[in-house]
């Protein structure tokens, strides 16, 4: 279980993240929603140790995350950030193979190769495996990065807006993928989502953030409510029900 205690990050005197306590239990799909600048990405970065907090700490199964060795942590927790701009020319297969680095340290075993193949197939990118990343469309590239995260095969997988630049077909398939990772493989998936309806339909839990603070944490039907959404986004949004889950009319 990931536990966040009194975690804070400050930029120029403002607390961009100010979370007193948050628990992310094992298993399930948790979505983080909230307006731009709510501190969602910063929270994710601090949980995954990419950014140092200015106060408080994060523990993973009772251990302070800053005390865990880098390669040990890389086998337990991973994160896919929003901006994966890179100057290196790598092929899709090479990128996904680097997902196995925490295990293989560069010497791939048969088991590693099997994981790589599985990850490539899961995101439907096998035909492009030998292409360079800079020769792919935004959506294909995004799927290659997701495959890399899947190949890393960690207990905890954090995603920052993984649906960015995906068309509807691939957005749905990535959501199903995250769902399956949580349900069938028992992984703990935490993802920042902008699309409220994807969160409402597929998440087990939703964390709503605003101004660096947690507003509400709960099941989709507890969070996706007109009053809460008005508080979050300053908009009156109509919420109905479809397939037993909330459905937001997001078009104003």
């Amino acid at each position: 279980m990931i536990r966040v205690e009194n975690l804070g990050k400050t930029y120029a005197g403002d607390w961009v993240v100010d979370v007193e306590a948050l628990e992310l239990p094992r298993g399930g799909l948790t979505a983080i929603i909230g307006p731009n600048g709510a501190g969602k990405s910063t929270l994710l970065s601090m949980i995954s140790r990419l950014q140092a907090p200015d106060r408080g700490h994060v523990t993973l199964d009772g251990q302070d995350i800053l005390r865990i060795k880098g390669d040990v942590l890389a086998r337990q927790l991973t994160v896919l950030r929003q901006d994966n701009a890179m100057t290196a020319r790598l092929t899709v297969a090479d990128l996904v193979a680097f997902g196995r680095y925490p295990y293989s340290k560069g010497r791939l075993t048969e088991a590693d190769r099997a994981e790589i193949e599985r990850a490539l197939a899961l995101v439907d990118i096998v035909p492009y495996r030998h292409r360079f990343l800079d020769e792919l469309s935004g959506g294909q590239r995004q799927r290659a990065f997701i495959a890399m995260v899947l190949a890393q095969d960690t207990e905890y997988a954090l995603f920052d807006e993984p649906l960015n630049s995906l068309d509807i077909r691939h957005a749905v398939s990535v959501m199903h993928l995250l769902r399956r990772a949580a349900e069938d493989l028992g992984k703990t998936v935490v993802t920042v989502l902008h699309d409220l309806n994807f969160a409402a339909r597929h998440a087990d839990r939703i964390i709503a953030m605003k101004n660096g603070r947690l507003q509400v944490v709960g099941r989709p039907d507890e969070v996706i409510r007109p009053a809460i959404l008005r508080d979050l986004y300053g908009l009156d949004l109509d919420v109905t029900e479809r397939q037993g889950k909330p459905l937001v009319d997001v078009f104003g």
Partner: protein
């Protein structure tokens, strides 16, 4: 869904694999041919028949031509590889040891060693040059952190001016101590001075670049950016320090022996990257071979153009390098 990766007979191997294999085999062939040419071309006549009949010819081959050819191959390989490493670590295609103050710092170190420790062994001099190269490169990277990286041309521009400052300090000292000629020789390569007994430190440089092969995956990963590297359990700072150490040690060896070859570390990794990509495991052999081939070709051209007089490789490589570099620049502007 099986472990059967990349073993199916056709079509399964990627273009980058094929391009890499092609470059390596083509490079090996060219290397052997050019090495042969390098052994026979020069001011002194050297033919197979003469070699058997005349002991002097054999002497020429062993004390001059063979060492020179070996030095060309070793220096070419290691210079090109230092460029490859540093380009990945800085995540910029336009930096190499000559455009980031590394070579200037090494030359400054060597100059100070010659002045203050005149009795020092070549090994000690090399060590001091490498130490200065390390410090100079580290300082440059710290500087680079402080400036915004909006344009990919920013790091080389900063590096060139930074190197010029160090170079100016070195020139001033050299001028005062009447060592301008030595300084010039360290900064720009000349292989006509290579004789047996005076180039062997280059094997050490090759040894350091062999280390790069061991650390190849780490360098590639570090080149994906700090957060990606950390997410995969790597300490980017540590990898950077290792990389600088290799680059500085190689720069030290080369400056002490033959002088640095301009442009090589800049253009060879770029030429290889276009076809093979930036996965060091795949790019390293091609970069090493192409580096050696280009160095041999430029040196042989320098020996032939005004035969029996020689043009130093700094001139021939400078011309070739500038042309290739300009075309790379223009192409990257269009892309």
């Amino acid at each position: 869904m099986s472990g059967a990766v990349d073993i199916s007979p056709s079509g399964a191997r990627g273009g980058s694999d094929r391009a890499g294999a092609l470059m390596v085999w083509g490079g090996l062939l060219a290397l052997v041919l050019l090495a042969g040419v390098s052994l026979v071309v020069g001011a002194g006549q050297l033919g197979l028949r003469g070699l058997l009949a005349d002991p002097d010819t054999a002497g020429l081959l062993l004390t001059s031509r063979l060492p020179r050819t070996a030095a060309l191959i070793l220096a070419g390989m290691s210079s090109a590889i230092t460029g490859l490493i540093i380009q990945r670590l800085v995540q910029n295609r336009f930096v190499d040891p000559t455009t980031m103050g590394t070579v200037d710092s090494a030359a400054l170190g060597l100059l100070l060693a010659v002045i203050f420790l005149p009795a020092a062994s070549p090994m000690t001099r090399m060590g001091i040059a490498a130490l200065f190269a390390w410090g100079g490169t580290g300082l440059f990277l710290l500087l680079l952190r402080a400036v915004p990286r909006r344009s990919p041309l920013m790091p080389p521009l900063l590096g060139i001016s930074y190197g010029a400052v160090i170079g100016a300090a070195a020139s001033f000292i050299a001028w005062q101590m009447d060592l301008m000629q030595s300084l010039g020789a360290w900064m720009s390569a000349d292989f006509s001075i290579v004789l047996s007994g005076r180039y062997e430190m280059l094997y050490l440089a090759a040894g350091f670049t062999a280390l790069a092969w061991v650390l190849a995956d780490r360098f590639t990963l570090a080149g994906l950016g700090d957060s990606m590297a950390k997410t995969l359990g790597l300490n980017p700072g540590q990898v950077l320090a290792l990389g600088i150490t290799i680059v500085a040690a190689v720069a030290g060896c080369i400056v002490v022996t033959v002088g640095f070859i301009p442009f090589l570390g800049l253009i060879v990794p770029n030429l290889v990257s276009r076809r093979v990509g930036d996965n060091l495991r795949r790019a390293l052999p091609a970069v090493a071979l192409l580096g050696a081939v280009m160095t041999l070709a430029c040196d042989i051209a320098g020996r032939l153009i005004f035969h029996p007089y020689e043009l130093p490789i700094g001139v021939t490589m400078g011309v070739l390098g500038a042309v290739v570099f300009l075309s790379l620049l223009l192409r990257s502007q269009r892309a």
